[in-house]
């Protein structure tokens, strides 16, 4: 599904190297988690993969289902099946959530050569998906993320994921700012989308989200590299001992 090979990235504005050779392969239907202390480069990885400006790839490659990801525009990556659930979803005043969703769904369908959804079809679909995420009609009518609580924003991200049906989902600190109930709701939404043809990369600082979204593989990231890879037990180890020991090992 996703193959990252020796990825080096620096911040354009500050000429600062953030990623120093990341290697990662995620198979179809797998759920991987990346954990690591603040500033280890976790979020940078998610932004570089989704095509945000301001980062320069100095070395390495990334492919999604064999296609070179790093040469594509953000919307092309999305159409190719990549989805990033933002840590801080952007507010867009004046654009209704429904309009936003429909524009996105149809843009992707168009890019893939599929027919656009009719208003009726779309409405039916969005209502069905929204219901399982406990997103009410009012939230769909309001402008994108404007005035949404932290939990509502994250649920809205998962709703977009459900509507866009991507193949490779990256969740960037989706648990940040959520209480236990909200986290459970979001995790249920994600779990409902797990299937053999869809992979996940869950980026998180804490282990607690991984109680709800069970990963197949856990990676520990530090100083721009993956320093350790293991099973779900690795996350528990971090939970108990913190990052310090692992970082010491890594050096």
């Amino acid at each position: 599904m996703l193959k990252i090979n020796n990825l080096h990235v620096k911040l354009e504005a500050e000429d600062k190297v953030i990623l120093k050779g990341v290697n990662l392969t995620i198979g179809s239907g797998e759920v991987h988690a990346i954990m690591g202390p603040n500033g280890s480069g976790k979020s940078t990885l998610s932004y570089v993969l989704s095509g945000r400006e301001g980062y320069q790839v100095t070395e390495g490659s990334a492919t999604l289902l064999g296609a070179a990801l790093l040469d594509m525009a953000p919307e092309e990556r999305a159409a190719a099946g990549l989805f990033l659930a933002f840590q801080y979803p952007v507010e867009i005043p004046g654009v209704g959530n429904m309009t936003f969703l429909r524009t996105a769904v149809n843009a992707q369908r168009k890019a893939r050569g599929q027919d656009e959804l009719s208003a009726g079809e779309f409405l039916k679909l969005v209502r069905e998906k929204a219901k399982t995420l406990k997103i009410d009609a009012d939230m769909l009518k309001r402008p994108v993320n404007v005035g949404f609580s932290g939990g509502e924003k994250k649920r809205n991200e998962i709703l977009q994921m459900a509507m866009l049906e991507p193949k490779m989902c990256i969740l960037d600190e989706t648990d940040s700012g959520l209480d236990v109930d909200a986290m459970k709701l979001v995790a249920d939404g994600v779990n409902a989308l797990r299937d053999a043809g869809r992979s996940f990369l869950v980026i998180t600082h804490y282990q607690r989200l991984l109680d709800h979204i069970k990963p197949d593989v856990v990676h520990i990231m530090a100083d721009g590299r993956i320093i350790k890879t293991g099973g779900p037990e690795l996350a528990l180890e971090v939970e108990e001992n913190g990052y310090a020991d692992l970082l010491a090992e890594g050096v």
């Binding site: 867009i92 004046g94 992707q108 402008p143």
Partner: protein
Amino acid sequence: MAVALAKEDALAARLAALDLPQGGFTRAARAAAVARLQALGLPGKRDEYWRYTDPAALTAVAPPTAEASDAQGEVPVFDGLDRVKLVFVDGVFDPARSDDPTLAGAEISRLATADAADIHWAQGIYGALEAAGQNPVPRPLAALNTAAATDGVLIRVTARAARPVNLIYVHESATSDAILHHCIKIEAGADLTLLETGPAGARFNKVLEVDIAEGGRFHHVRTQGRDHARRAATHVFARVASGALFKSFTLTANGALTRNEVVIDIVGDDAVTHVAGAALGDGATGPFHHDDTVFVTHRGVRCESRQVFKKVLKHGAIGVFQGKILVKPGAQKTDGYQISQSLLLDDDSQFLAKPELEIYADDVKCSHGSTTGAIDEEALFYLRSRGVPVQEATALLVLSFLADAISEIEDEALQTEIFTVLEGWLARHKA
């Protein structure tokens, strides 16, 4: 001295080129307007309120030629609405294209015909609101209009008007110089929606005087045609009495030069006045210069005023906003708000603003804000990461930017019409 003389000459030449109507009931008002104009002179670049807009094309003896643009099969705006259509072609009333001007709750007449008589209900309005609006900021082009207007409509609204009135300004001649003057009187508790559409002529000078009595309501929605070369100076003078409501929204797309002045005098208490505008300019299809000059005077207590102006500019387009809230002594509990924002889609465009507050009462809440900048990169990336191509994403963010101004239109059907026009414009001006 030389400047003053040159100004006098310019005015004499301008007046000489006009066939000033003698007028019936407007006779005294027209004569007074000529005198006013002579005292003021035509506007010049050195005038404080013309520092950002060169009035030369508006004051020249003849208008620069302006071809009417091809509508390219676009459905005319408001076409689906049930309304009374009154059509002016290059400033001349066209009865054949107009509806029968009968409207339950209102009485409609043409200025050109009504002015044959010496007495008319509009006598106290024609030129009177314009004259009152000359202080403290002179508006010579409006005085010129009062003196020289050849036609217009006079509407007296006595109840809730059954349908909106739509003034449709058709532009056909490349050299037309349309001068229209409308008077509207909303009687106590009456209600009218006025729609104005179209570019009107190669050059257009318009005055709309609106007198709203106690509890009257006036909704005004206009779209200024997208002809690239047309030039327009429009003025709205409104007198707003106690408990009355005045709401005006203008959408301007293209046009070489547009100066929209709105002068509102809130004379009563507890009145509400909102003025909003959205302007879209693409210099790639010809020069674009758009100027909103708004002046709201609060005299009564507990009144609310809002000014919401948004501009989207690219390829060397220029947007101007000069807005003022004047709170007179004693106008306590005034709630005045003003926002002017521009979105510059590229590095060539300009936004020039002078948002003013002048306040002589202490128990008031007045604020204004003004921002200028490029499109929000964060939001653009968010949309693109969801698969929306960059042009479509930009269009969506432009609509988002304009939404606050458009939401000033109360009627949802009218809002939808405006969004349709906007989407059409954005589709045509993708690059």
